[in-house]
């Protein structure tokens, strides 16, 4: 899809592949993300489906379970199977078979303003929840005179961040019950996670709307106004903020999302993509050797250099060159994905109960118990149906 792998990588890859396979031309079609669900559905149903497709990791279980992708379990060893990123591997495993190959991943870290931290007397980034809340207080005091200041910008529906808090408590959003998944939002652990989210929102006094996610308005643009000390974001969001406000480049860094336990980092949602071969592909062997080439260290390092976590290489040294990459690498080890059920795709492509739950609780429309119970019912219905 658009912006996945850097152009330099794909060009080099395609050239090398064509060079070693005479008479083969690689047709590389970049898709836009808008309408991708429809696009994948029709592309796979066409008479000439693509030979290799990129799928978001939360979409992979759905396509795998419907038999639309080729089983690559036998080829995993050939594709650097030993180095596959754990979280992504889970997302492409269905009934103990692997239906793809991890491509790349990224996760959220807390991106912060080093200058504002120093000015507030914070000497080191927080490594626990308590330290985090303390840092927020210090930042608020130091910037009390600025009416537009926000210690932490946290919109109401940033459910990926919520996942970190729930997982950190030992809970999850859904659990397996027999051969189905049911919601697990009404467990004490999940509720504790939701409650911490609210604590952050209230402690930081963030002005972010409680009924939208981090895209509306774009969180990175708010950070770019210079009045925000922290945001929980993906690496490219910092890039976007810097584009809008180039001064920020020298004044920003990142730390992993702190855990409630000092010294550990909270589990983070591993966003990313997998590569798969459609079941209807007419060039299976070529597709497999294409993937093999992509999974070699040479190209995986390029993914790292581009700021994403490589999917088939445990070597994250290429990421360490910048502070955000460092935090990324540190926390991706503790990366998890959403429940590997085909129904999860519907949660993301439709009406997400987690979002509604957060808004209801944050605005006070529902109590914690009510909000989590209602969301759980809705989630179970989606995952079961």
């Amino acid at each position: 899809m658009d912006g996945s792998a850097p152009d330099t990588l794909t060009k080099a890859l395609n050239d090398e592949f064509e060079a070693s396979n005479k008479d083969v031309k690689v047709k590389y079609e970049v898709q836009k993300w808008g309408g991708i669900q429809e696009k994948l559905t029709t592309a796979l149903t066409s008479n000439t489906p693509p030979d290799v497709i990129e799928l978001g990791n939360t979409q992979t279980p759905k396509f795998a379970s419907e038999g639309t992708l080729l089983d690559l379990t036998a080829d995993a060893a050939n594709l650097n199977g030993g180095e596959w990123l754990g979280g992504l591997k889970d997302s492409l495993t269905w009934e103990n078979k692997q239906f793809g190959l991890p491509f790349y991943a990224s996760n959220r870290t807390v991106i912060y303003r080093t200058d504002l931290f120093t000015a507030a007397g914070i000497t080191a980034p927080p490594t626990s929840r308590d330290e985090w809340l303390a840092a927020i207080e210090k930042l608020k005091t130091a910037n009390a005179s600025n009416p537009d200041f926000q210690a932490l910008y946290l919109p109401g529906q940033s459910w990926y961040s919520l996942l970190s808090f729930i997982w950190d408590e030992g809970g999850d959003v859904a659990k397996k019950d027999g051969d189905k998944f049911v919601g697990a939002l009404n467990t004490p652990q999940a509720k504790a996670g939701v409650d911490f989210y609210k604590k952050l929102v209230e402690a930081s006094g963030t002005k972010a709307p409680k009924d939208t996610d981090e895209a509306k308005p774009q969180q990175m643009e708010v950070f770019g106004t210079g009045n925000v000390a922290m945001m929980i974001g993906l690496p490219w969001e910092l890039g976007g903020a810097v584009k809008a406000n180039p001064d920020l480049e020298k004044k920003t860094s990142a730390f992993p999302v702190p855990s409630k336990t000092a010294g550990k980092t909270a589990p983070v949602f591993l966003g990313g993509s997998n590569l798969a071969i459609p079941a209807g592909s007419k060039n299976v062997d070529l597709a497999k050797s294409y993937l093999k080439l992509l999974s070699t260290k040479k190209y995986q390092d390029q993914l790292g250099a581009a700021g994403t976590v490589p999917g088939t290489s445990k070597d994250t040294s290429s990421l360490q060159s910048n502070p955000v990459g460092k935090a990324l690498a540190a926390s991706s080890v503790n990366g998890k994905v959403t429940p590997a059920t085909p129904k999860w795709a519907a949660v993301e492509a439709g009406q997400n109960p987690l979002k509604d739950m957060l808004t209801a609780y944050l605005t006070g429309a529902k109590s914690l118990d009510q909000a989590t119970t209602d969301a759980n019912t809705a989630l179970t219905a989606l995952l079961g149906g």
Binding site: Q37, E38, T41, L44, T45, K62, F63, S65, E66, G67, T68, K207, A208, P209, K210, D211, K216, P217, A279, G280, K343, A346, A349, G350, Q351, N352, K355, D356, T359, A360, T363, L382, G385
Partner: protein
């Protein structure tokens, strides 16, 4: 076979022609009985009918058939056919949300249609009174509204109504009202009102243009007659404009009803049918079942139900249409 007459000589309308009269006096009413004349309507209609039956008919039949099948992603890709009878329909109809969604859709449609038609009519009547440059200005402004791509219009509206940075709240605060940080999307009804405004804004131009086309088609001698009798503006409207405009008005209202009922993209892009499903309408439900959850059989059932409801809503118009003789409607 006698061909239909064409006189290519530059015959001015009012002078009588010296050419032998072969055209039937009195015009089309008396059929000449030639085979070509009898076939002509069918010939004229043929391309349209073929196009519609082929390009729309087949897919529509396919949707109806699909509503009786279980068609999820796997079945679609493998081309499998699994019949499930009316299961899809029972699933949809027994969901309590379905009735809530239907009522919401009908009310929303009614509000949007009423507003756009009334305002469109008023603008159309107004346009007659304007000096030409102002009229063109108005038409261009409306056209730009009509043509704005949905991605741009939905975003601009969201920005205007934004809680924190929206210009609307800023303007209200400037006027002294306490609207700082006010959220316009806290309930489904509020959300639908803003979306409704967007749709009305983009719908009025077509209505205004069409009704204006009708308004200037009203023969001016009718107005003169009314003027001679000393009628007021309102009376003139009721006596002259309204009867002339009524068929066109009913037609565009009918069309508006169809379109506004089926609106999907704007509702989805705003709040994905939220908050908490509060702005979900039937088209949104169809999307959720279809593309989102890949239950294409169920989605097809929703589509069929949508058309059924639409037919119910427009049944009186349809019946009148079937009853008229000379197609005055």
């Amino acid at each position: 076979m006698t061909a239909v007459e064409t006189t290519d000589a530059a015959v001015p309308v009012r002078t009588s022609s010296p050419a032998p009269r072969r055209a039937v006096a009195g015009g089309a009413r008396r059929r000449r009985g030639s085979a070509f004349d009898r076939l002509l309507p069918y010939l004229l209609l043929a391309p349209a009918v073929i196009g519609i039956l082929w390009l729309i008919g087949f897919p529509v039949v396919s949707v109806v058939v699909t509503s009786f099948r279980k068609l999820d992603l796997g079945e679609l890709v493998r081309g499998q056919i699994v019949w499930v009878g009316i299961d899809n329909y029972t699933k949809v109809l027994s969901d309590p949300r379905f009735w809530e969604i239907t009522v919401r859709t009908v009310l929303f449609t009614a509000a949007v249609v009423a507003t756009s038609v009334v305002v469109g009519l008023v603008i159309a009547l107004l346009m007659r009174q304007l000096s030409t440059p102002i009229r063109i200005l108005l038409q261009v402004c409306m056209l730009l509204a009509w043509a704005m791509p949905i991605i741009a219009s939905t975003t601009v509206y969201q920005w205007i109504f934004d809680q924190q940075y929206g210009i609307l709240n800023k303007i209200l605060v400037k006027f002294g009202f306490d609207f700082a940080g006010y959220s316009w999307f806290s309930t489904g009804t509020a959300t639908l009102s803003v979306i409704g405004l967007l749709i009305v804004w983009q719908a009025i131009p077509f209505l205004a243009f069409s009704l204006y086309a009708g308004v200037i088609g009203v023969p001016s001698d009718l107005y003169e007659a009314a003027g001679i009798d000393g009628a007021s503006a309102w009376q003139t409207f009721r006596a002259v404009t309204w009867p002339e405009l009524k068929p066109l008005l009913m037609m565009v209202t009918f069309l508006s009803l169809l379109w506004d009922f089926k609106v999907f993209t704007q509702i989805w892009v705003f709040k994905e049918g939220g908050p908490s499903g509060g702005s979900t309408t039937l088209p949104v439900l169809q999307y959720l079942e279809g593309i989102s959850q890949s239950h294409f059989g169920v989605a097809a059932a929703v589509s069929v139900l949508m058309v059924a409801i639409l037919t119910l809503l427009t049944v009186s118009y349809l019946r009148k249409l079937l009853q008229t003789q000379e197609g005055k409607l």
